[in-house]
Amino acid sequence: MVMIPDMPDVGRGFIQDLSIPPISETHWTLPVPSSERRVAIVSSAAVSRRGDKPFSWLARDCRVLNKNDRDLIMTHVAVEYDRVAWQLDLNSIIPLDRLEEMASDGEIGSVAEDHYTFMGAADPVDMEKSARETAERMKQDNVNTVFLIPV
């Protein structure tokens, strides 16, 4: 089990020193039944469509991916995580095909038209404005369920 104390020096130092604001309460939205779920993915992989503006190193904004987009590139600032998996299969990090299959099989209701990627190296507090705008955009697409995936 890899917990922070088990990590090697450099990475451990960085991760354990990350500032996390005090969280007093957890907001809880009642989920809809699985058959009514319309699911959008939010990824921190800093993936975007080829030709889109690259992410800056501490970007607060996000990029939009259509559910059919497959010609994607990654401009994440970090190089410490495995990029082989995503080179082999987009679904390793953004499982659009898997969600479509689950929708076809009736495990979920549907897959959102659009999905969203952020720069995982940035502070979530700095992303608040963009995240709230993203939430509004999701609601216009009748999304009710968000699957947040790191990289």
Binding site: I23, W28, E80, D82, I108, P124, M127, V146, I149, V151
Partner: protein, 253 residues
Amino acid sequence: MSGLARYFEEADLSTVVIGFVREHMQAYKPPRAMWLNFPMGRPLGKPNNPDYQKKVIRAAFELFDRSTGPVLEDFPDVIPVRDGRMGYAIPPEYVVSRNDVGDVDALLAEVQAEIAQLRPAYDAAVTARGRTTVGASDLDVNLLAPHIAEFVKGGKPKSPRKGLSPIPGLKLVIEDLQAFYSEARTHRDDIDDFELLGEWFWMETKAGLLIMWLEAVALHTEDKILRQVVDMSLVTPRFWSVGPLPGSSASGW
């Protein structure tokens, strides 16, 4: 990701988060979270394994059935990592000194020959996968290594991407070169092992050596951004090393 969940929940969207750092998930208290004991970079576990990927998704989505929270569950499977590191790391003792930097043009010629040799495998990989992740820099593959070599020589060519300054542009060029090698090798030898690929690229290929030369030069540069990039291990993978690159402070972190 755990820190973002609240913004969506507050907009009446139900969320579930999966993540790699359990302590952070505990601290952020997202309403529904599942911890993955996996190496970073593969949150769905296994590439080209739809059943396994769905197993992860289903386990996460089961948390929507809980009536109260916050809930933090552990996904039962483990994908082991080496020595607690969550990605590949160059051995800390493998350092190229500036005095070791030799004839850049000669090394560049070797890199270009390597690229030519890998090209058929890369093209086959693109055909088989129907996509490539190479191209973030907007530079043709044959121009990637010459761009890096210019920096090794002390130059500072413009970023190939409009609107991007030279060092962020250089970073994308380096990552494109690595992606080209990785996509070619994984397809040619049918492998999915980031430790093996890391060792191969950084310890065996001429392209890896060219970037090591860049790191050696950058440690002595007066360009603050290039120096910061090296201090932060954004050129070579040293984040999961047992110690910082000698000569750097790792102070960027």
